[in-house]
């Protein structure tokens, strides 16, 4: 009985799914990306309208005429109003947020949006659990206790997975948001025996989802939900700030799988296609991020990076090594005499909001005939592509911005490498020192440039990985110790 689907409705959802594929396809180049985004909007419009038209809320009204009385089905205007109001409220909040948000806050915003998808998935799964007949996933069965809607066993698995993944996405994203927004320290928080606890909770969820097919009582459903909220929290809390690119990508992936699981429940192709797209997108991004750090996905998820490193006699001794300090004037002189300058931005640039003044500096240099390029490490910043967005915001043309593998060979022929707010991604120890925690991670070869200008707040701090950077003590390195934005402003002044 369930799903006597009108072929036109199924077709409409399929078209919506294809639009979503085209939306992602558009992102293969900045020139086609805006058209792609419009495809996405069209797809969403089709999906929402189709649902609205095929699921008009109705009420049964008793119509009493002069000589007759009949039960008629009529449109429930109150319910229609409620739905439209709900969409309007969401639209107002969403559009205002999107317009006001600062580009530097994009990682937090994305994490917040992920949490909403997760929570929406939980709510939809819960609604489907409470009213399975409306979703066409249950058959009313007469039992001695009265009529009971018996949910299909397959639907129970899909629903259980949907609510579990949704809840993990929600609580995990909330923690990621708090860490990225600075409401919670970025340092990993390590509970004793956390691996045992996590594996135990995960196993319990799997067992309960399986048990749910035998027993659809409320306690099973709600326990799955509660445990999943808990595991999302437990999984993300021990992961530190600079691993956030992986976490954000992973949660992105989860939000997709949650949508796909609900798509299975509803037999809806638009949701399944979208879920698969988003799920694989997030998974690929996580993979790219892990590869860029030369760490396995499991070790990132296990968390606690940087906490176990640190200490060690070697790093303590290194701080006594001589290093050279430069001034803004020195930097301005060196760069204005250069033929080519490569700028290496990192998370520190985002924190200092230095991207605009950095572009000003680049403009001044270009006016003097210097070639300026930007080199981006895949994990620079707190989410994939973070640096690119900030530079785009500062009106840096995207054809001056290069990825690691495209520009790394150029450092050897470059006069000045200008490192601003990046550290671990320039550390040559990753290439040579087998004992280093970042050994094997692909890094930008800044030390091969004739001169390295390294903007850093102080000599004391180390990068996220907790390792000293050899570049600081090289003969061709000049440390510019100041806040990134202030230092660049001074360089701009000195260039006049």
């Amino acid at each position: 009985m369930p799903h006597a689907v009108n072929p036109w409705v199924a077709f409409a959802y399929l078209v919506a799914g294809v639009c979503f594929i085209l939306a992602l396809r558009g992102l293969s180049s900045p020139t086609t990306s805006q058209r792609g985004n419009r495809f996405g909007m069209i797809g969403m419009g089709i999906a929402v309208l189709t649902t609205l038209v095929t699921h008009v809320p109705t009420i049964t009204v008793l119509v009493e005429g002069y000589d007759y009385a009949a039960l008629l089905s009529a449109i429930d205007t109150v319910a229609v109003f409620e739905i439209v109001a709900a969409i309007a409220i969401g639209a107002a909040i969403g559009l205002t947020t999107a317009r006001r948000i600062a580009m530097t806050a994009m990682p937090q915003l994305v994490a917040a949006f992920h949490s909403l998808v997760g929570l929406a998935a939980v709510l939809v799964a819960a609604a489907a659990y409470l009213n399975p007949v409306a979703f066409g996933i249950a058959l009313p069965v007469l039992t001695p206790d009265g009529a009971v809607a018996l949910i299909n066993p397959v639907s129970r698995i899909e629903m259980g997975l949907g609510v579990a993944i949704g809840a993990i996405t929600f609580s995990g994203s909330v923690i990621a948001f708090l860490k990225l927004n600075g409401n919670m320290g970025g340092a990993p928080i390590l509970l004793p025996a956390r691996h045992v606890i996590n594996l135990g909770v995960l196993a319990a969820i799997v067992v309960l989802v399986a048990y749910f097919t035998l027993d659809q009582s409320p306690w099973v459903f709600w326990t799955i939900t509660a445990l999943s909220f808990a595991i999302g929290f437990l999984l993300i809390v021990p992961i530190g700030g600079a691993d956030m690119p992986v976490v954000v990508s992973m949660l992105n992936s989860y939000s997709g799988w949650a949508a796909a699981a609900m798509g299975f429940t509803l037999h809806n192709s638009a949701m399944i296609i979208t879920g698969a797209l988003v799920g694989s997108s997030g998974a690929i991004l996580s993979y790219i991020m892990c590869r860029a750090m030369n760490r396995s996905f499991v070790s990132v998820i296990a968390g606690g990076f940087g906490a176990e490193a640190g200490g060690g006699g070697a790093s303590a001794a290194k701080t006594d090594r001589p290093w050279k300090r430069g001034s803004a004037e020195d930097a301005a002189f060196l760069m204005s005499q250069a033929e080519q300058v490569i700028i290496v931005p990192g998370y520190g640039m985002a924190v200092a909001q230095a991207q605009h003044v950095l572009r000003e500096m680049a403009d001044k240099l270009k006016a003097e005939g210097v070639r300026v390029k930007y080199a981006i490490h895949p994990v620079a910043g707190r989410m994939p592509g973070h640096m690119n967005v900030l530079l785009a915001e500062a009106n840096v043309p995207y054809d001056e911005v290069f990825e690691l593998e495209d520009i790394n060979s150029e450092f050897a022929q470059t006069d000045v490498a200008f490192v601003i707010g990046a550290n671990d991604v320039t550390n040559p120890a990753a290439k040579t020192d087998k004992t280093s925690p970042i050994y094997g991670m692909p890094v930008l070869d800044v030390e091969k440039a004739k001169t390295v200008l390294f903007v850093k707040r102080s000599m004391g701090g180390v990068g996220y990985a907790g390792v000293d950077n050899d570049v600081f003590y090289r003969d061709n390195t000049m440390m510019l110790l100041a806040d990134a934005k202030k230092m660049v402003e001074e360089i701009v002044k000195a260039l006049d």
Partner: protein, 97 residues
């Protein structure tokens, strides 16, 4: 649709996703996350069904709340993606200087 038909769509869509996402340029990875976020809110379909259905008051209100959340994501996600994509510009013509 029977389960195996749906599973086929899902598996094939995973492959499509795999190839499409690898072709996304790394410079656009942040907009990619924002837009995937927006489209994963297609879960609003489920929310709308729940809010329109009679038979369970609790289910209806959960559905309406989910509609609000998903709408925030849809409108916010597409708008913020649009805002970001509009910033990506090519080098202006060298005639400027």
């Amino acid at each position: 649709m029977d389960f195996i038909a749906i599973l086929s769509i899902f598996v094939l869509a995973c492959f499509v996703g795999y190839y499409v996402v690898w072709s996304v340029t790394p410079a656009l990875h942040t907009p990619l996350m924002a837009v995937t976020n927006a489209i994963s809110s297609v879960i609003i379909v489920g929310a709308l069904i729940a809010s329109a259905a009679a038979g369970s008051i609790g289910g209806k209100w959960l559905g309406l709340l989910a509609v609000v959340l998903a709408s925030i994501n849809i409108f916010g996600g597409f708008a913020v993606t649009q805002r970001m994509l509009a910033m990506y510009k090519k080098k202006e013509r060298p005639a400027a200087k």
